[in-house]
């Protein structure tokens, strides 16, 4: 039930944002992340963006994964 899906905000209308899933547009609540901008990726849970996704951190995790994996040979 704590499932959250990564999705991109494509429109902002006050406290609501618009995201798109497979061609279907959906309004979501942005009140938990008032600083969001169009184009930001967020974790979507129960109709609300609950956290902004950090691309740099994602890249860093992938780099670490590559490193650990290589170390193991």
């Amino acid at each position: 039930m704590c499932l959250a899906i990564p999705t991109k905000v494509i429109e902002i209308k006050g406290n609501l944002g618009v995201v798109e899933f497979g061609g279907v547009r959906k309004d979501i609540g942005l009140s938990l992340l008032p600083e969001l901008k169009i184009g930001d990726w967020v974790l979507l849970h129960a109709g609300f963006a609950i956290q902004k996704l950090d691309e740099e951190e994602a890249e860093e995790t992938l780099r670490l994964l590559e490193e650990i994996s290589e170390v193991s040979g």
Partner: protein, 378 residues
């Protein structure tokens, strides 16, 4: 960057699995495999569906904890919810997972079949919309969920307050994860070498609330994402802590979990809710582990505004959901599992929720996903 496929790479997974096997095999011969607990139901599904549990059998023991909100909702709270549906002009709104959960005498699904107005919503915002469109009716939302969900309900309550909606109520049975982890450790029934901490609860609360586990109980914690590589990396990090004799809280899921969590979400939660004791299925009453509406928002509190009378609750005498939620047994050790208790006809809540331990084992855990092709599931 799509934040999904990148974390499902088979080549990297194989490298990680090798590393985990080598780390867990270190030490003296005959040393038991380390035991980690994933607290969150979404992790339970991720670990079983990807085949990681099967793949690391004998190398790492994975226990499932009390991290499915549907599963830990007390029968008495469900009985109260069912009682609320019978009040004249009430529309009861709920997340879909709650529908089939058996109460003492009925379920929301059975009551809906009897003609009571019970509607599934995806978000509390949908329940608010129903309230706005049905001003002559009373709309009650069954507010379940952990710290991930509670801020979304808090935001909806604030919206209802601003709009002056007087036909919208919630029954708050929200629960908090760190107190449950503490209760579990204090019971002393499981010996853990590490916690896979819930990623999306932590997206809200950050890493600080788990510090006591690392400091006082000396158990390593890693806040983890939900893709196969996330889980494998977290296992690697836990094993590295164990190897170094450390116990600290690390964040593997750093793309979604800043150390400080989401301060705005916590502010909204704090504005609307206050901490209270709460009854958990399988764990009993845990101090300071629930959320109730603060006095200034009491007019939205279904419990305060309606006279709810329920008989003493009862559960199926052979249902072992309580022990499963405490990580003491696995589903196959319950004699009802997959025989009398199935997703179609669930006896206990762990078989109802898609993220319940029994439902996850039923769907993903019975047939080995990884046979001749290691990481086939991954």
């Amino acid at each position: 960057m799509k934040y999904l496929d990148e974390f499902r790479d088979k080549r990297l997974a194989k490298g990680l699995v090798d590393k985990i096997c080598s780390l867990s095999g270190e030490g003296q011969a005959g040393t038991p495999a380390p035991t980690f607990m994933e607290v969150c139901g979404t992790h339970t599904v991720a670990i079983l569906r990807s085949g990681i549990k099967e793949l690391l059998k004998g190398r790492v023991n994975m226990l499932s904890g009390p991290g499915c909100p549907v599963c830990v909702t007390a029968t008495s709270d469900l009985d109260k919810t069912i009682a609320l549906t019978k009040i004249d002009q009430v529309i009861l709104t709920t997340f879909g997972d709650m529908l089939k959960v058996p109460g003492s005498f009925s379920s929301l699904q059975k009551e809906r079949a009897e003609g009571y107005d019970i509607r599934i919503v995806y978000s509390c915002l949908d329940a608010l919309k129903i309230a706005e469109e049905n001003l002559d009716k009373t709309i009650i939302f069954l507010a379940i969920g952990f710290e991930t969900t509670a801020p979304t309900i808090a935001s909806s309550i604030i919206s209802a307050h601003k709009e002056g909606l007087n036909n919208f109520f919630i029954l708050s049975v929200h629960k908090l994860i760190p107190p449950a982890m503490k209760a579990l450790l204090d019971m002393g029934e499981v010996n853990l070498d590490g916690f896979i901490c819930p990623g999306h609860v932590s997206a809200i609360i950050g890493s600080l609330p788990y510090q006591f586990i690392a400091q006082d109980y000396k158990i390593p914690c890693v806040i983890t994402g939900f893709e196969p590589l996330d889980v494998l990396q977290a296992m690697y990090m836990l094993l590295m802590q164990k190897k170094k004799g450390e116990s600290k809280v690390e964040i593997q899921y750093s793309r979604g979990v800043p150390q400080q969590g989401n301060p705005k979400a916590m502010e909204l939660m704090d504005e609307v809710f206050e901490v209270c004791d709460a009854r958990w299925r399988g764990l009993g009453i845990i101090g300071s582990s629930g959320l109730k509406l603060k006095e200034r928002y009491e007019r939205f509190d279904a419990e305060k505004n309606f006279n709810i009378q329920v008989e003493e609750s009862k559960e199926h005498p052979e249902c072992r959901c309580g022990e499963i939620l405490r990580g003491i047994i696995e589903p196959a050790q319950c004699k009802l599992f997959a025989k009398i208790c199935t997703p179609e006809y669930p006896v206990g809540p762990c078989m109802v929720s898609s993220e319940g331990t029994c439902a996850a084992y039923y769907k993903w855990g019975q047939t080995p996903l990884v046979g001749s092709d290691p990481l086939g599931g991954v």
